[in-house]
Symmetry: C2
Subunit: 412 residues, 2 copies
């Protein structure tokens, strides 16, 4: 957020120590694209042989960098990534495509690769031309100072209205070899289903064929970012990329991946989940992290839709902001999802206290423990539909005056 000093989210988590990922060099620098007093360009450079997987926004009006990455992803190989913050290069027409092409060419010249092996992402204001010359001028000095330890700088340089940098790291075993999976992400408005965060970049030193990498990333994203929402608005720039440098010395992984990658997939999923929850924790104006567990739906898909309907309801989110145990609004949000639900079988709990069972308030219901739970930072909602075995979990944050403050004057 240009020039604004937003208070750090009360739900913020510290950036963990981010160890090097063998093969990866990264760093951040200043191009002054929009922000004048902070770093706004991030660069990653990968060794030859690096494979890549990607998941992108389903918004029908995506930014030029999304088009660029979708095309580049077809090759399955990556040698560099350039990320800018402050201007999303969305709805910039021909100029936007030219910026992508020029940036990729310049980066390819530095990294000694093809432009189609360069990945691009931008986040920030929509509809303003990105000053390409400033970006191009910033690339050579940044390239000159890349090293293995640039994670913390990168996590900060990709932020926009985020109030804290977001990173996560895990190790996994492939055969007898330990590999690292690390990632960074930025939120924190325009966060909704169908690829939730605006930008998220993971890297690993594992050597994984592109197809297997893509399958692991797609599945992990479905269970993490796609279960998080801040405001139901789907960004035009949502991007998750996973780069595998192949620098680790483990036995060869077959093209289809398979059992050998089970622990690796677990690590990727955990990093994605950590980052997705950090995005919810840094939702614009967030004061509380809300977890919604839906059980008893007719299917997992139905449970997911109901959980997201609750997570996206402004009335549920304002009630939680007001620490009001208004479970009637939860019932409303279940009903508006349009999924099979029988009002007279429905049960609702907050903080483990069942307030309503089988379509009516619990006899002798005492609000005291619920109110106590809601005064905390973490609020848990449970809904049981008693129709089947479908279950799902979603996460969101409350809707507060902070959201209005931040978004009522974003560009000023």
């Amino acid at each position: 957020m240009a020039g604004k000093d937003l208070p750090v989210s009360p739900l913020a988590l510290p950036l963990p120590a981010m160890p090097p990922v063998a093969g990866l060099r990264l760093g951040s620098g200043r191009a002054e694209i929009r922000y004048k007093a902070r770093e706004d360009v991030t660069m990653m450079v990968f060794p030859a042989g690096t494979t890549v997987a990607g998941v992108f926004t389903k918004n029908k009006c995506p930014g030029a960098p999304i088009d660029w990455c979708r095309a580049a992803l077809k090759g399955g190989k990556a040698r560099a990534l350039v990320v800018t913050a402050g201007n999303s290069n969305v709805f910039t027409g021909k100029a936007g495509r030219q910026t992508c092409s020029d940036t990729a060419k310049a980066m390819a010249g530095l990294a000694g690769c093809k432009p189609t092996e360069v990945f691009l992402a931008s986040t920030g204001v929509i509809g303003e031309k990105l000053p390409t010359e400033k970006l191009l001028a910033a690339l050579p000095p940044l390239f000159g100072k890349l090293d293995e330890d640039g994670w913390a700088g990168a996590a900060s340089a990709i932020m926009t209205t985020d109030t804290f940098p977001k990173g996560a790291t895990r190790t996994a075993q492939i055969g007898d070899t330990t590999v690292t999976v690390s990632g960074i992400a930025k939120g924190s408005g325009m966060i909704a289903p169908d690829m939730a965060t605006m930008l998220c970049f993971l890297a690993t030193d594992a050597k994984v064929p592109a197809a297997a990498l893509q399958a692991i990333l797609a599945k992990g994203t479905q269970k993490s970012f796609n279960c998080v929402t801040v405001d139901s608005d789907t960004s035009t720039s949502d991007t998750v990329l996973l780069f595998a440098t192949g620098a680790a010395r483990h036995p060869r992984v077959p093209a289809e991946g398979g059992k050998m990658l089970k622990d690796f997939a677990r690590a990727v999923h955990e990093v994605l989940m950590d980052l997705a929850l950090m995005v919810a924790r840094d939702g614009e104006g967030a004061q509380k992290l809300i977890q919604i567990d839906v059980t008893g739906a007719v299917s997992a898909k139905s449970a997911h839709r109901i959980a997201m309907s609750i997570a996206n309801s402004p009335l549920v989110k304002t009630a939680i902001a007001g620490e009001d145990a208004n479970w009637g609004r939860i019932v409303m949000a279940v009903g508006k999802a349009g999924e099979p639900a029988d009002r007279d079988l429905l049960s609702v709990a907050i903080g483990g206290t069942w307030m309503a069972r089988e379509g009516a308030v619990v006899t002798g219901y005492d609000e005291t423990p619920v109110i106590a739970h809601m005064k905390g930072r973490d609020v848990r909602i449970e809904v049981d539909l008693a129709l089947g075995r479908g279950k799902a979990t979603a996460w969101t944050c409350d809707l507060t005056h902070g959201y209005i403050d931040i978004n009522g004057s974003y560009r000023s």
Copy 2:
């Protein structure tokens, strides 16, 4: 809202003079169901032969009164309506059904009709038992003071967080006879597509067969209330009822209605449209009324979905609250609708100034007239997709601190 003195919406309109509808007697009184210092019960009584049409929420967890009305509507005849404010009798289990049945029986005893000719509606808090005995005690004195001029009292007695009473009236010709169509409505949170307002009641002295009445109401609702949204939350109580007393002396209308009802349908539609816009004008926290015109979509349905996606976007609505001509967010909302859209053909205008044409900002774009327009109370957004001939209009209000204030402590 109980005990809260909300400032009247700056978009409020005065209640028009509401002339009597021949055959209808109505009034309002106090049951102290939740509100102690205002009227909270509304009653209408109709002559024998009155037909009725109804449209209800699509929420899958509707209130007990919705179930009651759906069943009663099958008869197509009405003799009375009872409306309560403060408690919606939703998610109240068996007790809620008993309240409906007891209320209908008591009202039928007063009006000299069958319980199935009594219609019921309730609005307010979800999940709390409605104190039936208080309601039943209030019915006889209220019945005793009904007259033809009770519209203004009724328009106020059905309100919850509404800040002004909403009414509209028209006349129409059926043959050479002038008939009256009048209606009242209440909002003003939990307002979303698929039957938008919480409660709306119309009455006419026309003599119209129930099937023809239902067709006119359904079509009118589709073009009015279903094009209005405040917060994307679909109420569990949304109800629109249209009663036709048949007291007017016009030629007999055939069962299927037809041409003879063209002017009558126009009047019904206009009353619905007036009331729907008043609901948007009284959206919780509303400071601006927003009209969204979408053209060039592949179909009218597609245009409607895109218009509603824009109308429901928290980021668009907060930008307008902040008087920020952030058309990038409009592009995002077009894209997130999931309907056919080509980013590079898209054009966006605010207040008649085209800011973006064919996928990029207009050359030499000057924000000055747009900012001037946005400082007003009425904001108009136009989107042209340049794909086909589908068009639609939607209305909403801006998203302000007032919405958070009202909904962060609804029950307190």
